[in-house]
Point group: C2
Chain length 449, copies 2
């Protein structure tokens, strides 16, 4: 069942559609073309997934928080998606029966879940979708999330990565409970599965004690695709050792190239084939038929963002720092060490320094450090091609500032341009998400070599 060695494959560009209806931009819901209620409008989300499937994206990808990010209720009341959206595993299950080929990636936290439930949920999703499931492994971000699970503060950065590594070992162990060929369904003899092909896990570690076995057959993909976005040292080490897809964010190509080279080298040092770690930086785009049109669209969108929301969001991603104590038209202050996402904090600081931005400028430009490329189909394709061929990226997590427009534009304007350049598929060639991504099916730990 594993991939056979064969002739070297041509390197392929991969595109995930990072969907956060009604759009990644915090004020997206105010755009006149946006569906303001998109967070809980299943018909709308199905249409987005079908659009992405028609465009032959590798996968749709749903982020997640297990709480709300802003304590200030006045700020909170002005944003949409973080308050009011589907839980991702149930959402991708619903999309599985409303689509047929596209991959389906849901985020779930190792800090506030039990590995038995998570292994089972994603195995079930992989069976339901016929091998199209992916798990974006996160360790969660904030104290607000911790407080929904009996804790006062978010679990310490080191400890939650330690827990994540053990969690991953338990989950993958549970997925291997049954060998791929365990189930005979032999109606005559009455033997449903070969008992020698069942393996109890009997895990006893620092964080978990899990006997197993998992009560479901091995996932069609062996393992659902593992996505990881940690860019701190601990996060990067985890990604290099376990991730099939790495979601990252960089302010420029040089930073992306350095990360790309480091991650592939670390994966190789960990005994992995670096081609089997697909590096996808985030890429937010606003497309126009002309540059002027694209810039008008961007200006119109950013004008919708309430400055209070922008500032609260910046403070959130900086780890909950109190920005009100500093002049808004001055530079970003030195920040204390954060217990939240260290990579997010670092990326924002890098952007502020590179651009010489004030707090107000930084907040208003974009409340979250995702690179937004504003341009024509040609200039955006240039950007993609430059990063791909320059080995800053194996493709992109394409982020949509407001939906459905920026997805429709990307699908109808940018993807055809990428195809004209021979950079992107016209049809799905495989059956599973691993096939889409050019990844082999991992053998069970119990399989003979």
């Amino acid at each position: 069942m594993t991939a056979q060695p064969g002739p070297a494959r041509r390197r392929e560009l991969h595109l995930n559609a990072f969907l956060k209806p009604p759009g990644e931009f915090l004020a997206a819901w105010r755009h006149p073309n946006a569906a303001a209620d998109a967070g809980v409008n299943i018909r709308h989300v199905i249409e987005l997934a079908r659009t992405a499937e028609r465009a032959r994206f590798d996968a749709v990808f749903f982020a997640d928080l297990v709480g709300v990010p802003f304590a200030d209720q006045e700020v909170l009341s002005r944003v949409s998606v973080v308050n009011d959206s589907f839980e991702p595993t149930t959402l991708i299950a619903a999309l599985a029966t409303a689509t047929s080929r596209i991959g389906l990636i849901a985020t779930a936290s190792t800090t506030y879940n039990e590995p038995y439930h998570l292994a089972r949920t994603f195995a079930s999703l992989d069976h339901i979708s016929g091998g199209r499931a992916g798990w974006n492994l996160v360790t969660s971000l904030s104290d607000a999330e911790a407080r929904n699970f009996g804790l006062d503060r978010h679990v310490d950065h080191e400890l939650r990565y330690e827990r994540a590594a053990e969690f991953f070992a338990v989950v993958t162990g549970l997925w291997d409970s049954f060998d791929d060929d365990a189930f005979h369904h032999d109606q005559m003899s009455g033997i449903y599965f070969d008992e020698t092909k069942l393996h109890r896990l009997d895990h006893r570690g620092k964080h978990f004690a899990v006997t197993g076995p998992l009560n479901i057959a091995r996932p069609p993909q062996g393992r659902p695709v593992i996505v990881q976005a940690g860019s701190s040292d601990r996060g990067r080490a985890l990604a290099a050792s376990v991730a099939d897809v790495v979601f990252t964010q960089h302010a420029d190509l040089a930073g992306a190239q350095a990360f790309y080279a480091d991650l592939k080298a670390t994966a190789r040092a960990a005994g992995r084939d670096p081609d089997h770690v697909v590096v996808l930086p985030g890429l937010s785009t606003i497309v126009g038929r002309t540059l002027d049109e694209a810039e008008d669209r961007f200006d119109r969108l950013t004008s919708l963002l309430d400055p209070r929301v922008a500032l609260a969001d910046l403070a959130y991603w900086l780890g909950g720092v109190d920005l009100a104590a500093h002049p808004l038209d001055g530079p970003l202050p030195d920040l204390p060490p954060s217990n939240q996402s260290q990579s997010a904090q670092r990326a924002i600081v890098e952007r502020a320094r590179a651009g010489g931005l004030t707090i107000r400028q930084l907040a208003q430009q974009r409340a979250r450090d995702v690179r937004t490329v504003v341009g024509t189909p040609e200039t955006i394709a240039d950007h993609i091609q430059e990063w791909f061929e320059g080995r800053g990226a194996d493709g992109f997590n394409v982020i949509f500032p407001y939906l459905p427009d920026t997805l429709d534009d990307f699908a109808t304007l940018v993807i055809p341009e990428l195809r004209r350049r021979g950079l992107f598929r016209t049809e799905y060639t495989g059956r599973t998400l691993r096939d889409n991504l050019g990844l082999p099916r991992p053998p069970s730990r119990w399989a003979l070599p």
Copy 2:
């Protein structure tokens, strides 16, 4: 949004389709017409749900265990569904987009889950399905499940019901985080929701500390339908106070009538309208055009059950007792108190005493105490009518010994007979599962009276 007082409604018969592909009977997968791989065959399960929807069942219903029930691997290898089936919440999400009107009920444990996750999952399912979700609240059964969650033994019966009550209070509190009319989506003012209509839970109890709010709008049904099957004193008290639907099992009509009267009285004493607690005993049927044909079908099915499996299953439902230490052709021994399902143990003991059965007879008849009625469409309709009109039942959880045949037979033979008698709907009249069940939409705890 709550139901208005109005003229007394005619009492309606309710039918849930209790689906456990390839069938409830442990050897169902060996039946030549069964899909042996049905546990993880999504096309097959979708077809079953669509059949149930065409027949106008109130809901499909999926049971669950968070582990495997038998330690003996030789026994385990001869059964299907308990080893190898979809996780129920992901399954009903997938069914939500493959059906349009039927209710979708999934089982989830209060003993081995976090209330924040569970509240969110079922709120999401209710939004995805347009108000068709139900939660079968269980406290789990066995030590084998406990060992997948860091414990050596299943949580004590009293303690897990105490936890269940607090868990339920947290979940329903989280569902009321946003008022029904909180979301304005006012694009002009930038106010997404009215901040005065958001309520943080700030729960601190013995088992849980959960701040909230839940990050999703109030479920379309206010609360997904709550199903509960506890029949012990603690379980019955919980059901009377929180359940919309009670799933129960009785050996005869007199027992059912006593339970029904007691539960309705207890609900009334708890300040609830007894008509809003729908009592559905399990009803397993084998239908034939003649009684001989039905009995042949039943004999053929039961002949497929391996005696080792039957005996292991009986021991499991008796609370893990070692039956091998007793003569198989002698009576059931006195049993020590069980930490597992007390109602299941009691029902089996009652059946053994009522029938004067030996251990072997008890095990072989049916390894689980569900009443199987073997008959023609007319005799089965007689049974349903007698229990319904005799107030032993408001309807039934219809249990299918092997699938798809016994569902197809029930849909095409029994339901038309019930309709001829004016007992069962020909069309769905409401939009939500609560509508199907004749239940009002619960107001938020924050709503003005």
